[in-house]
Chain length 407, copies 3
Amino acid sequence: MYTSSELHRLVREHRPGWTLAQLFYTDRDIFEVEVERFLGPQWMVAGHVSEIPNHGDYFVFEALGASVIVVRAADGEIHALHNVCRHRGAKICEQPSGRASLLRCRYHGWSYRLDGQIAAWRHMPEHLNKSEHALRRCGVSIFEGLILVSLMPEKAPDPAVMLQHVRPYWSRYELAKTRTAAIRHYRLQGNWKLGIENNLECYHCLPSHPEYTTTNAFVRADEQTSETVVESFAAYRQSWEERMRAAGTLTGRSEMITTGGQPCRAGTWPLAPGKLTGSRDGQGVAPLLGRVGGYDESVTTGCIGFLSYMGAMCDHAVQVNYLPQSVDVTLVVLRWLVRADAVEGRDYDADNLCWLWDETTRQDKSIIELNAAGVGSRGYVPGPYSNLESMTQDFVDRYLKLMSEPA
Amino acid sequence: MYTSSELHRLVREHRPGWTLAQLFYTDRDIFEVEVERFLGPQWMVAGHVSEIPNHGDYFVFEALGASVIVVRAADGEIHALHNVCRHRGAKICEQPSGRASLLRCRYHGWSYRLDGQIAAWRHMPEHLNKSEHALRRCGVSIFEGLILVSLMPEKAPDPAVMLQHVRPYWSRYELAKTRTAAIRHYRLQGNWKLGIENNLECYHCLPSHPEYTTTNAFVRADEQTSETVVESFAAYRQSWEERMRAAGTLTGRSEMITTGGQPCRAGTWPLAPGKLTGSRDGQGVAPLLGRVGGYDESVTTGCIGFLSYMGAMCDHAVQVNYLPQSVDVTLVVLRWLVRADAVEGRDYDADNLCWLWDETTRQDKSIIELNAAGVGSRGYVPGPYSNLESMTQDFVDRYLKLMSEPA
Amino acid sequence: MYTSSELHRLVREHRPGWTLAQLFYTDRDIFEVEVERFLGPQWMVAGHVSEIPNHGDYFVFEALGASVIVVRAADGEIHALHNVCRHRGAKICEQPSGRASLLRCRYHGWSYRLDGQIAAWRHMPEHLNKSEHALRRCGVSIFEGLILVSLMPEKAPDPAVMLQHVRPYWSRYELAKTRTAAIRHYRLQGNWKLGIENNLECYHCLPSHPEYTTTNAFVRADEQTSETVVESFAAYRQSWEERMRAAGTLTGRSEMITTGGQPCRAGTWPLAPGKLTGSRDGQGVAPLLGRVGGYDESVTTGCIGFLSYMGAMCDHAVQVNYLPQSVDVTLVVLRWLVRADAVEGRDYDADNLCWLWDETTRQDKSIIELNAAGVGSRGYVPGPYSNLESMTQDFVDRYLKLMSEPA
């Protein structure tokens, strides 16, 4: 077990602007400290309300060693309940999703209502009070149709406060009026921080993501691949800003860091000239979202906490989650959202819709796993970040600050 | 490594009448403490004498990280010898069972007699004495044809003392005159204690074991599923007791707890009315055992130590063992015993014989593994036992007492 | 984590002439101490120069938790570079071997010259100096065409000093003028020391290696299987010595133990009468090596450090490496060397060439894994070495001395 003095030494020895020491990526005890200090409280996107439209619909959300039932009750409210019977601790829901009128433990038959309260038990001592044995609750909050879950809500910020400053960026997409068109899982053999470090920089985009680079003009501009590229991007960006301003659409970026270091960030940016959305040919792939009146070559991106990310284009949104399962396994879950009334086959084609981020995520999985293999090798030593990795560097700084605070 | 003070804290924090804290089910160091303190000494049923009828017959018994050769010597005596060469430590017997005149290590050719004494070695220093290098012996004892093995017999009770009070319950079955008709293995992904906790209560029988519940009348009676059921069971039980008394057959229950907390228990109970034995149709499946004169709708159950259990009906017996392999893997081994002269195909059908306990054990494996999944989850907290789980609760109390004693 | 006092106790409790305590074979922390103290510095044979004949040819060598690129640069020099990018730590070469003009990290596109110096990076802070971010170097040395690599060369002896006294035994084979005809890998489920202990004694040859025993006369002679065998071997050996002396060929044995306990040993011995080389029929399998003028029924054997071994016969050489991957997995790599101009199919048949040592290594894998299974069992206790295991005993003594020195 890592003593706090050993952990402090590791934190103290960190060289600012350089990557983390090996043990932060490989040590089981450090992972436990992370969960206790700040991962447990994180607000994570567990799903979208469209995935459980009816009373009794549920899915099971697994992260950080917990299994959570996310279920819609009769009154329409959504609950997040630990998937562990309060009797002897058996797992209750065995399937990844389903529909139920009661949550019933198969072992001894205890059953729970959809809000987690005990519906029935047999032969329990008289002095016990059913109300004290409800399924343990996680924090739940709905933001624009996204179901946020926190395993330790008492240590988490108020989501309303945390999200207020980013709401203006998302509102025109009316994500609450979308539905999940596709969900895909990618099992990452590597520590969760390697996933976040990857997500927060586009220094790797030019060498690793040809499709993403073609879709987003900033990559080549930031890379300064040529003076022409830089200048033409500046001109394009200026005209795009004017167009957006004329249409009354917010651009730029806003950020807030809340309790327990939970970041919340959003911003709206131009795609590449002529790209209406993230698709093979740059043309639309689904009906325009919400109050978006027409394709404006924009993308809105942002994060909710350390682990959940969003990207919305005019006709669909992509939602990305890094769900740590253990110190060296991270489940990456992507969901694609389209307008609630869009019909597959008629209004969109799922493979076409998923193309850009499925390709990009497969590429990321491949390079993050190379990263994990090298970081775990005896030859690894920390290295310096580039000028294009400032957000990754910022993440590492925040992470170390959280790890150095008194428990 | 768990320090004794940390372990003491865990024990002290236990709430009586509630399930154990998570670490007792998941921590490797706690498992090592269990082995040293009381699992190592346990008498376990390794097999039945009929499995090694002839001189040189052996099988390999694996539990608690040990591999043991159980072999019948020329004089008929059965020995239990660590399957580890005294030279460089190679495993000697590689097959699960076989026949041999000498136990020969394939590595350097040392050979041992069937009692473990060295038969031959080459080129050893003159000052070494062969007799000091015999295979290390485990404790062996035969009870009603069952071969009991203890890895640490010096810390174990005398089996004759331990078993004397249960012998009257078993004697009429003459298990020494049976033979093993079938052995089946079930690999349980879960801590051994979850297996024992399951075994010791029938609170789960109504929801989980339809076949068992139909065969055993007490389940619905204890559950008090209706007043009629309770009353008719009471009447049936009384008439059954009278019949048994008239026939001179012992009923009721006896128990003893010996050195190192090894429990030894037996009792005879009625099956359901009309059930001659544990079979699909309630009819007999094999020739009557021993001195059992006729079907009397009874079953005798009991345990030998924490890990081995027995159930005998008029025409066959089932023997169940929970063999811990590591903190989270338990091998469950069942053997079915029939009269020694019974011939498969003529006197019994193996599938019919095994039906009830094979079904029941598969069901138990499934619910115990759900239990293990939930108990290992971050959402687990201890819960309260029901009124129908008193023996499980008693097991947990004894377990904690053993874990809190000075090492 | 093993404290040094616990390790000292284990070392102090060792009984000279007996095998090691269980923890030395199973404890992860002890393995880490071994790597730090003396395994890391070991010179290991990573390959033969013929495997990377051209500029840009490389192979990846993996041992002790490190991944190393062994590559030939434009000037012909061979470099051994940690396969870990100095930026964020990604693994660079993904294939076991290949050809490249630059070593390019796929993640962010940093590229390195074949000597490890940075060829190109983008957008790095101005104050950073490329020369300080070259791939980390391992020690490399070439001995008779064998590429020696040390992960911690600063703690390793000078290979020229270490090897000077064995060079006379190897020189006539001109191994620098051979090429690798075959490489085979054997994954050993067992601690590396069990492999070395096996390698250093032939007490197991008579029971385990019929082919080896037939090829090498000393086995039966040392075993003293009969007086005739002993006497006829003595006579044969004397006449063989005379023949060798007449031909001016060195016989006998030389040894040196250098910094960090690295042994280096060689000796030339007779095969069995009539055996020209290690082959099925005892006849030659490939063109005579180097300056060897004719078959003289000899074999030259030796080691370089603890982990790499060699055996040369008149027409081919076999090179054996025990590459620890973790406390309980060891990769055994064999390479067969033939004269550089030998053509497969015309001058030798690969299966025939590999026969003796492939058979022998499979047999060894089987018995070493039995040994590992037994040594890891709860029943294991150290046992005494025989008179034919003096080199194994000597290895254990040296090992314990290294483990007891101040870190």
